[in-house]
Symmetry: none
């Protein structure tokens, strides 16, 4: 089945927004044994949308269109769809009911009552329900080509794609090809290092591909196998996955969609240990990540963002002398912070970071990027010095990730 995608929006064509929907659709199709043959992007111009639809329809069995279903005047996709397929644009009662109902439900999320524009749908179409937004999607068949129209809001688009479009298309693929991907999330080594370590694992001629996608500060290794049967796919995928694991060992912190936050949360939950944080240069970034996981209150007690020395002294009981003698960014102060927060919070684990995120503040012997991370636990206190490079935000992110990864490795040992 030849599938094309079309993204609609001036913000995309003018480079104000990066189009992530095209990638999301491509990934999800691949996971279900299909792939995009071609993608197109046009602005909020009715003639351009119509022309793109007709052009793509010429050599596609299905077109997935995102964007331009919003309530505003520059949302023109529904009208263009009607024109391109010789349909009338009419007020759809179901869509209208949905828009009203949804507007009411979302009212507190700063959404106000919308007009009926979003309920204007081409005739002879099937609505695609949107559980989280006001814009209904719809699909139609025109000259043997399925056309799906989804809103451009990524979260809404993703839900509707999975619930309606993917299954609809998957049922129609013949002959069935099985494509499976395995995602391995890696933190630590650089791309070139990983690339070298994984040499020879990919076997494209057999239908086994390996991709490395760097998403600072981590990277995702994608193993994709394509074959005629589940068994054949597994026979390609499993040994390759095993090889990747052996060569990268501790660097793989999660598989699939799990982030390092999820992994640390699971390990903490499982260990029955409680955690408290003392952050200087990360300014709350670690606490924010820990508490992003539902139920974190079961193991996370408190965090102290001790930016000033006074705060380090008062909140964590770091000795004044130590601060004066060694400086706020030092191994001794880091461990004093970790032990301090562990004691005041009465937690099993105390994790502390102190460093120089820059752009200013570097000193002789302690350049910008110098960071100390300390973990205080019942069985001891470990402190380590790191030197990160990059922008202020990159250094902060690397510090938070390294601290979380440290915690992950500690919990795995226990």
């Amino acid at each position: 089945m030849r599938i094309s995608t079309l993204s609609v929006g001036d913000e995309l064509i003018c480079g104000e927004t990066t189009d992530t929907n095209a990638g999301t659709i491509a990934t999800m199709l691949v996971e279900h044994g299909m792939r995009v043959q071609r993608h197109m992007t046009v602005g909020d111009s009715e003639p351009d949308i119509i022309e793109a639809l007709l052009e793509l329809a010429r050599n596609s069995d299905a077109i997935i269109v995102t964007g331009g279903l919003g309530p505003t005047a520059d949302d023109l996709t529904a009208r263009a769809a009607a024109r391109a397929t010789g349909r009338r644009l009419v007020l759809n009662d179901h869509a209208r009911a949905h828009v009203r109902d949804m507007s009411a439900r979302l009212a507190s999320l700063l959404v106000c009552p919308l007009n009926d524009k979003q309920a204007m749908i081409p005739t002879k179409t099937t609505l695609i329900p949107n559980p989280t937004g006001t814009a209904c999607g719809f699909h139609l068949m025109n000259n043997g080509c399925f056309m799906f129209f989804l809103p451009g809001v990524p979260s809404e688009m993703r839900l509707m794609l999975r619930s309606s479009v993917i299954t609809f298309l998957a049922d129609r693929i013949t002959p069935k090809r099985v494509i499976r991907s395995l995602l391995l999330n890696v933190f630590g080594p650089c791309e070139a290092e990983v690339d070298e370590l994984l040499t020879g694992i990919a076997r494209p001629e057999l239908g086994l591909r390996l991709g490395i996608c760097v998403t600072f500060p981590w990277m995702r290794i994608t193993l994709r196998a394509e074959a005629d049967s589940e068994d054949a796919v597994e026979a390609l995928l499993q040994p390759a996955a095993q090889a990747v694991r052996e060569r990268l060992q501790g660097y793989i912190y999660a598989t699939g969609e799990d982030g390092i936050d999820d992994v640390v949360a699971e390990l903490l939950q499982g260990s029955g240990r409680t955690l408290a944080l003392a952050e200087s240069c990360t300014g709350g970034m670690i606490a924010q990540r820990i508490t992003s996981i539902p139920g974190s209150s079961r193991y996370f007690l408190e965090g102290a963002v001790t930016y000033s020395n006074e705060a380090k002294i008062r909140q964590l009981g770091v000795p004044v002398a130590l601060l004066e003698e060694k400086g706020a960014v030092s191994s001794d102060v880091a461990s004093a912070m970790a032990k301090g927060i562990r004691q005041v919070a009465g937690s099993d684990l105390g994790l502390a970071v102190t460093g120089i995120a820059g752009p200013d503040g570097g000193v002789e012997g302690k350049p910008v990027g110098t960071v100390f991370i300390s973990l205080a636990a019942p069985d001891g206190c470990w402190t380590k010095r790191f030197l990160f490079s990059g922008s202020r935000e990159e250094i902060r992110i690397l510090t938070a990730w390294t601290a979380l990864d440290w915690l992950r490795r500690y919990l795995l040992m226990k």
Copy 2:
């Protein structure tokens, strides 16, 4: 001039990599008074590349192609370009010299020695030098359509685009068009409300466009004016900008690329006031945003992530009785937290949030999404109740943004 872009690569069509080149080109063209009419992406398939080139050529004066110029077998763009334009693919001596020279220079950067494949260039083309990579770009003219071929590596592509392609095209725009954009960042109202408030400001027939792009939880209003001269553009842009400001008043928190963090930082810096934070449901998100700005240590003293009641009592001095009587998520506790952190930190301002981010924890009269925000200042303490809806993360983000916006409005009043 009608300009199209074409990105080539299986990694794009399979969603492993997000295509940033299309956006870079679009942005740079707009900055120089041009715009992309349509964008296309195809995989590493010679027929697909040829078909895309021919199709785009039909209604473009220029096509900018990125990707598929690499050394590996799946880099097919040069050959496809030759086929599509009826040229031969020959070994180009200049390109060959460049590849060898560059390979030698880059050897230290883990680039493997390359063969002559990258020196195979279609006949009747002009090379586009690549100062940082091995792949030469080239451009040619076919049936009145300029075609530019650049490598897909973003950093190389960007350099070559600016040095060669943009100037080449800009010289050929007739009549010269000037395009300017003005970005206004808005937090508070919903898209439909903003759209209604701004009705009639856009005058597409005069070359004045208005776009609304929602990026949860804020939205960006783009005013774009296109005319023959700087003066004519300003004459369109300035009155429109004035009108938008009047109609949206306090909702516009920044222009251009500034985020709400930058604005709050600037206001705090200017006011000479110091800030301390007490966060419950946001778990450090506000502190993390405040400290993301360089120099924040000048006005940010400390933050307390008081997740447990014990922490609220010990770190902030919230009365036990109050917690028992009113509950941790209450107006009284919120103001006690704000006053508490202000006092212990000795800051001018104390900002506190407490709420139920969910998905669990909702109770009778206090459903998930109930949040109290409190600001303690020398001239009083203000506390307000909010009800946000959405996922746990959306509620946390809305809480952080609303608190920062509150702070912004307070500082603007002073």
